[in-house]
Symmetry: C2
Subunit: 363 residues, 2 copies
Amino acid sequence: MFTYFMPTRIVSGRDCVKNGADALKELGTHALIVTGRSSAKNGALQDVLEALDLCGIGHTLFDRVMPNPTLGCIREGVALLVSCGADFVVAIGGGSPMDAAKAIATLALQERPDEEVFQGGFLPLALPMAHIPTTAGTGSEVTQYSIITNDFAKTKTSISSPAMFPRVAFLDGKYMQDLPKNITINTAIDAFSHAAESLLSRASTPMSEMLAKEALKTLYPVMKRADGELSLSDRDALLYGSTLAGMAIAQSGTTAVHGLGYCLTYFRHIDHGRANGLLLGETFRLCEEKKIKELQTVEEACGERAQEIASVIDSLLGEREQIGKEELLDFARRSAENKNVKKSVYEPTAAEIERIFLRSFGK
Amino acid sequence: MFTYFMPTRIVSGRDCVKNGADALKELGTHALIVTGRSSAKNGALQDVLEALDLCGIGHTLFDRVMPNPTLGCIREGVALLVSCGADFVVAIGGGSPMDAAKAIATLALQERPDEEVFQGGFLPLALPMAHIPTTAGTGSEVTQYSIITNDFAKTKTSISSPAMFPRVAFLDGKYMQDLPKNITINTAIDAFSHAAESLLSRASTPMSEMLAKEALKTLYPVMKRADGELSLSDRDALLYGSTLAGMAIAQSGTTAVHGLGYCLTYFRHIDHGRANGLLLGETFRLCEEKKIKELQTVEEACGERAQEIASVIDSLLGEREQIGKEELLDFARRSAENKNVKKSVYEPTAAEIERIFLRSFGK
């Protein structure tokens, strides 16, 4: 038995926030705009403000979401939402503002003590949301997941509920035109990793497979050129591919790559997409050793062998961080219990997790 | 700008109605079960009754939906729904019961005089629905359309609203195991036509294209064998393909083939899927003449040239109905104004519509 569910309305195209503003009218009468310090400085905030004004919808700005948002940041957003009387949320940004917005929209209706937030079990109840990605990576605009920094467990933890699917996702590649190259690369690798991991997940379904393959076909040719200048249509392709990959992981979830990568982000502040990329090559190698047939699906969709794909990612990543052996072994121990490990068709043993960490950093 | 929206939760697999019964709990407390005289005599009604009992949900049976349901039939269903106090609808059957259920769930909340029903403009408001297809053709379980016999305009007319997407669609090929061969063939051709027409529609989007191509890849190999015995996994494939095709037309709608076919069904009582099939070959020929590049996408997904596909459909259809030239020219006149004609990338002129009708019936 498999299920498929992705109820978000996608509105895609140039100037879709303004041209598709009508979709905001159904969401409420006062919006809390959730964004980061710089996430919206690409024309997106301007477009949202014009769209809300056009619809006669009031708004309050919360632009204090940091990268890898903490529960403290979420609480601050909820407090502002309550005090301004907002009845829906508009998120603008990469994964951090978009995921923070989901947690804010959920905790606004379901109070929980800090220590219980990461235990899950949320009711399918959240304020309506509209999401506007300004990076092409996370796919959060079409998933039910919100990934929050979990200082109790010293990692990042995903909370989820069917109500965390945004009501509307606006996709416009123009917001990504001036992204710094490293952010373009890291987010593209994140999207690629979502699609590849979805195919390598035990929870893969016929529909997630279709979406993940289409995502790889869309993303990989552009990703190979992501070190150079990207055109606006390249930006649109990366964005469309990251949304497809998001739709795929909304069905299947991710795998050990994400589970292991969270350590690199929590302890070493390595960007999330880069963290996945650093671990992908050794993960592919493990899949080859274990003769994982799903790896062939990844290869067919990309039109290249896994080791060629790994080389492309390698060259995009550039020089790798220096991390000592003891620290890597500690990351391996911490990651071994991550729930994503068991969901991988290549389910790595504790020794294999150690090897992935060590070899990924030349040890 | 393009949009994507398909909020139905799909639950697919053997015995999914019983195993996925939990999905019914969220829909209400008393179900009106909408089906035809024979639509549910394949184990589906039995499974639904067990699932509802399991959930402690009351139910009333409305099993009087005829093929190509009329407004009178819909009204009868609404009256029963009101009198029994049902707060949601479960549809079991092919396109007729599934579409009737959508109209019942909508008219129960939005009263309209008969003559206004076909004018559209419904609010996005309907009782929640769960749909269980027992043929693999219509895709109604994942669309916002309800096609009703329109005696005012002497055709079949589609009404729609976003609230007409069922909340849940249960897909289980076992209900199709004992379908008569002619129904299997006609419904498979209907699903095939949805996918092909979606690709040939001016309203095609990147997502509808992905879904339609996957539908053709899934449907066509089985359709080629539909004249012989089909296994249970063939049945599952046809059902999955018809659902993918439904998701595609939920985005793009259909084209002139459907617009023209309605005449054959209204005046000659030719089965809906068969009606489309009878017109597909000449439509492909027109696309070739007009060098419609989208036809190549159909060919690539099927792995065969359009004329080979047309031959396959031809042999499945068997002997064609005898229809006189004058009657065919009358159908052509009636069809010329159908809104689907203009939505076709191969937009046929009045003379081309005449030719499609005449040649399709050997005149």
